[in-house]
């Protein structure tokens, strides 16, 4: 093994240890600062770990909310649920909530009135659901009559949908060009 390979392997071991204990995604910049190595080295080590896990382990690395996190392999979800039924509980969102969430994701920061104008129906209850599930947050007030509250998506939103950042969502143009939806 070359010196460079040996160095990456050692960095990978350290990253593995950090990710093992972390309960939330860890950013590449954070790992790079903790381990005093370049971001490129961290990224190379992360890809090596992921490739290794994916080939022969029950877990993998996922790239969500701007960071990396250890997760169980997707094909093993039923095993996890039968081991502990509490893991079977997942956030369930109605069609209305999902639609409202999509509007907020694309139009943030946005007020309730603006959401209702787009949807054509009242959305207060749906906003309550999204707020209490932590997927959206109040992000100040809009200047103007009544100073209405503005809503934004949260870090939890990115984590819950496996997104690394909002830029991973298709553009509005791409969505418009999609086929008819049922």
């Amino acid at each position: 093994m070359s010196d460079s390979n040996r160095e990456i392997a050692e960095i990978a071991r350290k990253i593995e240890a950090i990710l093992f204990i972390s309960t939330e995604p860890v950013k590449v910049t954070e790992l790079s600062s903790i381990l005093s190595v370049s971001k490129e080295t961290v990224e190379e080590a992360l890809h090596r770990i992921k490739a290794h896990y994916d080939s022969q382990h029950g877990f993998t690395l996922i790239n969500v909310a701007g960071g990396w996190q250890m997760a169980t392999a997707s094909d093993l979800c039923e095993v996890i649920e039968s081991y502990n039924s509490s893991y079977g509980y997942r956030l369930r969102l109605s069609k209305a909530a999902m639609e409202t969430l999509a509007i907020i994701a694309y139009k943030q920061p946005i007020t309730r009135a603006e959401i209702e104008e787009l949807r054509g129906v009242r959305s207060d209850k749906v906003l309550e659901t999204l707020l209490s599930s932590g997927l959206i947050r109040v992000a100040g007030r809009k200047k103007g009559t009544g100073s209405p509250l503005l809503y934004r998506t949260t870090q939890e939103f990115l984590e819950a949908f496996g997104l690394n950042s909002l830029s991973e969502l298709p553009t509005e143009e791409e969505l418009r060009n999609e086929g008819n939806i049922s």
Binding site: T72, S74, A105, L118, K125, T129, L169, P170
Partner: protein, 240 residues
């Protein structure tokens, strides 16, 4: 739970309370609306005059407060309960504007993403999401130490180093000292302008501490603040 309402600044305090409720930083079910109304009635009795817009402002804020409380007292909204709004949505599907179309596609896209993500399980922290309650000093203190601990861990320094760094220039002391300076200046000069008070040392923190000190002195009834012409300088003097 105790909510301290400052009588001299009733509307700002009520607005803050409503904002805290709306942003879920305190639980609406724990706020006594009747107590807030009683305090307002007391405030009304004490004030010499009351404009119609001030009463309207209070009614709007009180309505928001009651709405938050009613929502908090009813069972939490579930995904099933949202179906009601879905039903209306389906009825209106035919007339859904073109503008909504991309977001309906985006909702389906999100659903697929969520399904894929839900196949992966990650380590859970077991910590509950932060819960804030007005006057809950224990909770605020715990939150404070958590923040200090996290900063210390990130900077690889001790908690005491972080506290020393944060309290190096205690803003309260600065403002108190600035209040004394302003009072001393006014004893000598009787009246000064805001520009004179800010001259020479117009650093950001100096301006901030001067403004806060002036507001505090005015609130305590020690000084007056007058602007004799629109956009003109502000005159500061000791109240007789």
């Amino acid at each position: 739970m105790t909510v301290k309402i400052d009588h001299d600044n009733f509307y700002d305090t009520l607005t803050t309370l409503v904002n805290l409720l709306e942003s879920r930083e305190i639980e609406a079910s724990r706020v006594s609306v009747s107590e807030v109304v009683e305090v307002y009635a007391d405030y009304l009795l004490r004030s010499d005059k009351m404009s119609l817009s001030e009463v309207a402002e209070f009614l709007a804020r009180a309505a928001a407060l009651i709405l938050s409380k009613v929502r908090a007292l009813f069972p939490q909204q579930t995904a099933e309960a949202d179906e009601e709004q879905d039903a209306i949505l389906v009825e209106r599907d035919a007339s859904v504007s073109e503008a909504l179309y991309p977001y309906k596609v985006a909702a389906i896209f999100l659903e697929v993403l969520h399904y894929r993500r839900s196949k992966h399980y990650t380590r859970e922290s077991g910590e509950l999401r932060p819960f804030y309650e007005v006057g809950d000093l224990y909770f605020l203190a715990s939150l404070w130490w958590n923040i200090i601990g996290n900063i210390a861990a990130k900077n690889r320094s001790s908690q005491q180093d972080i506290i020393d760094l944060m309290t190096e220039d205690n803003p309260e002391e600065t403002i108190e000292a600035r209040m004394d300076d302003i009072k001393n200046s006014l004893l000598e000069l009787k009246e000064v302008t805001l520009l004179e008070l800010l001259s020479d040392k117009a650093s950001k923190s100096f301006v901030v501490s001067t403004i806060i000190a002036l507001l505090e002195l005015a609130r305590l009834g020690i000084i007056y603040l007058k602007q004799r012409q629109q956009f003109g300088d502000i005159y500061v003097g000791l109240k007789s």
